[in-house]
């Protein structure tokens, strides 16, 4: 009679059950469809592009080689690259990787810190107009990014910040409505007693913020940080508008440029997949470390 699904849903609850078996099969199929493309990406990235066509259905690399990685990272010579079916054009994915790291890190630090400051004022301090200002902040969630991106482009251009890190970072650096909302929610839950004890000890608001609120919220701050970093890492529309130049080009923009420059006949699929893998791996690593947090944070966004 117990239908409360136990962990692992052990067959003991309802022994042999066709429905349950079918359910597991369906789940398994979905997992295969989810993971197979990643395998295909890796398999292609380790293949020799020139002979890729000989085994288009094999799940193993065709003529295994590190060549695709070497040529997109710029460590293969033009001849080596062309021998394995690359175009020979110079690719500098180390540099794009560096740009992505710089841009995403700065966005994460700025956004989380400034949003935390604002969230503290909205959650813990009393001041005239507080709730109205907060409401206006949250309304910004409704405005579709494309609507603000055109005028933002004009602003960044007029400020002379096109093709600079500050130009790519600026719109995300100070806040996003979501970050403020997310942190305020956590700050509201902190007990007043701790704060008041600190006040009695003569601590000011800044001291309380840095010594009490931030340390007590390290878990949500880390979660928000990881989510912000991943979003910044994956952003394409904005950096593609303001950061086309090689010196500040981030991975997403570089990938798209690589794709449009690779020849239509005989494209360098292996190189392209090696490059996409380079773009995908850092967020995957973050996910390995912070997976549980990210999964649980979705619970939070789901019920907002």
């Amino acid at each position: 009679m117990r239908t409360t699904s136990r962990p692992r849903g052990s067959g003991a609850v309802r022994r042999w059950n066709v429905g349950r078996l079918l359910a597991w099969v369906a789940l398994f199929v979905i997992i295969v469809i989810t993971l197979a493309p990643f395998l295909w990406m890796a398999r292609t990235a380790l293949s020799n592009n020139r002979v890729l066509f000989t085994e288009p259905g094999s799940w193993l690399p065709v003529d295994f080689t590190w060549g695709p990685f070497e040529r997109v990272l710029g460590s293969a010579s033009t001849e080596e690259a062309q021998a394995e079916g690359g175009s020979g054009a110079s690719l500098r994915f180390w540099a794009y990787l560096r740009n992505s790291v710089i841009v995403s890190t700065l966005i994460t630090l700025g956004q989380v810190f400034f949003s935390a400051m604002a969230a503290y004022a909205f959650a813990r301090l009393r001041w005239p107009g507080r709730d109205k200002v907060f409401f206006v902040f949250v309304t910004a969630l409704m405005v579709p990014p494309v609507f603000t991106m055109l005028p933002n482009f004009v602003l960044i251009k007029n400020l002379g910040l096109l093709n600079t890190y500050p130009g790519i970072i600026a719109p995300f650096f100070f806040m996003t409505p979501f970050a403020v909302f997310f942190l305020r929610q956590f700050f509201l839950g902190i007990s007043r007693e701790v704060e008041e004890a600190a006040m009695i000890d003569g601590a000011g608001y800044f001291r309380i913020f840095f010594r009490v609120i931030l340390p007590m919220s390290s878990a949500p701050l880390a979660t928000l940080g990881v989510l912000t970093f991943i979003n910044a890492w994956n952003e394409y529309f904005w950096p593609q508008l303001v950061g086309q130049e090689e010196s500040v080009r981030v991975l997403t923009v570089a990938l798209s440029a690589f794709h449009s420059s690779t020849p239509q006949t005989g494209p360098d699929w292996a190189g392209l997949m090696a490059a996409t893998l380079i773009a995908a791996v850092p967020t995957m690593l973050l996910f390995l470390v912070f997976g549980r947090r990210i999964v649980n944070s979705i619970q939070f966004t789901g019920v907002r």
Binding site: F114, V154, L155, H259, W269
Partner: protein, 315 residues
């Protein structure tokens, strides 16, 4: 906990002067000053990159602006032009098709996946796995599927060949391009959407299921009679989130088909981008953005009304 319940958003805020029971009146002035300092950086960002551009975008939609010379006020010209612009109407139609395919498949599959997980396992690892595609960039996802769906060498066509089908130009065929892009994005968002629904499933009181089990109700009956009705508020929110996201499809199109073949994938946001950055017609692009904004607002309102998101069946 005696003085103030910390979870209550202190409704006394706003313009109300120091309440009588305030235990620390001498911090008042300092508190406001400190608060303003704390909000200042975020406020700068908000005004510069959210509020001001929203107003400016609205203004630009009434101007003729090519980025080089200053914006000339042109009244409703852009909007009049919209009415007669067949490419614009086509882009709306294309986007609508995309949203319809994307959302119907995705919502159905995600609901199925969420229920499967909910009934079968508590594994966080499994939930992590299904979330993986959502964590990689749209650009990566688009290129990966562009390769897998390639006409000559793609593994999908190879597999179609094994079962005797002719190869399909998934991205190159006018009638296939939008369904293909829609399905690519279903792949990316499926796990995320399922986890949102899963969160809703976890909020349903377990007693309800136990009662149903006592009554001898089967899985299917329980799903349609109990789970689905109780899930409606969550489904409404999930639908609002995903439909609004879906309308803003851009990255996948920009990386793969760039609006083609012909105008088969020229979705609204790509058309906006095209007008602004290829034709330098910022005023017109802004007008289209305004229309997109209005559509999204309308979609959100209509959905919340239709699905009665604010009313929960669980009392």
């Amino acid at each position: 906990m005696a003085t103030a319940a910390p979870t209550a958003p202190a409704a006394a805020g706003d313009d109300a002067p120091a309440p009588v029971d305030n235990p620390r009146p001498r911090w008042r002035g300092g508190e406001t000053r400190a608060a303003l300092l704390f909000v200042a950086p975020a406020m700068v960002g908000f005004l510069a990159f959210f509020a001001w551009p929203t107003l400016r975008g609205l203004y630009l939609s009434f101007t003729d602006y090519d980025l080089l010379t200053s914006a000339d006020f042109s009244g409703l010209d852009n909007y009049r032009r919209l009415l007669e612009d067949e490419v614009f109407w086509n882009s709306l139609w294309v986007t609508l098709k995309y949203v319809a395919i994307n959302i119907s498949v995705q919502t159905f599959a995600a609901l199925l996946l969420a229920v499967l997980i909910h009934r079968l396992t508590r594994s966080v690892v499994l939930r992590g796995i299904i979330l993986l595609p959502y964590l990689i960039s749209n650009v990566v996802v688009a290129l990966l599927w562009y390769w897998m769906a390639d006409y000559n060498l793609g593994v999908i066509n190879e597999m179609l060949g094994w079962v005797g089908f002719d190869p399909v130009a998934f991205f190159g065929d006018e009638s296939w391009a939008i369904p293909t892009i829609a399905m690519v994005n279903v792949w990316r968002h499926l796990g995320y959407t399922a986890l949102l629904i899963f969160a809703g499933l976890q909020m349903i009181n377990r007693d309800v299921y136990e009662a149903a089990a006592v009554d001898g109700a089967g899985e299917v009956r329980v799903f349609f009679r109990i789970t689905l009705p109780l899930l409606r508020p969550v489904m409404a929110l999930v639908m609002v989130l995903t439909v609004i996201g879906s309308w803003q499809i851009f990255d996948t199109v920009a990386v793969t088909t760039q609006g083609g073949p012909v105008d088969a994938t020229r979705v609204v946001q790509y058309y906006i981008y095209d007008q602004a950055f290829n034709r330098f017609d910022f005023g017109y692009a802004s007008a289209i953005s305004v229309v997109l904004f209005l559509i999204l607002a309308g979609v959100a309102l209509a959905q919340l009304k239709l699905l009665r998101a604010d009313e929960s069946d669980q009392s």
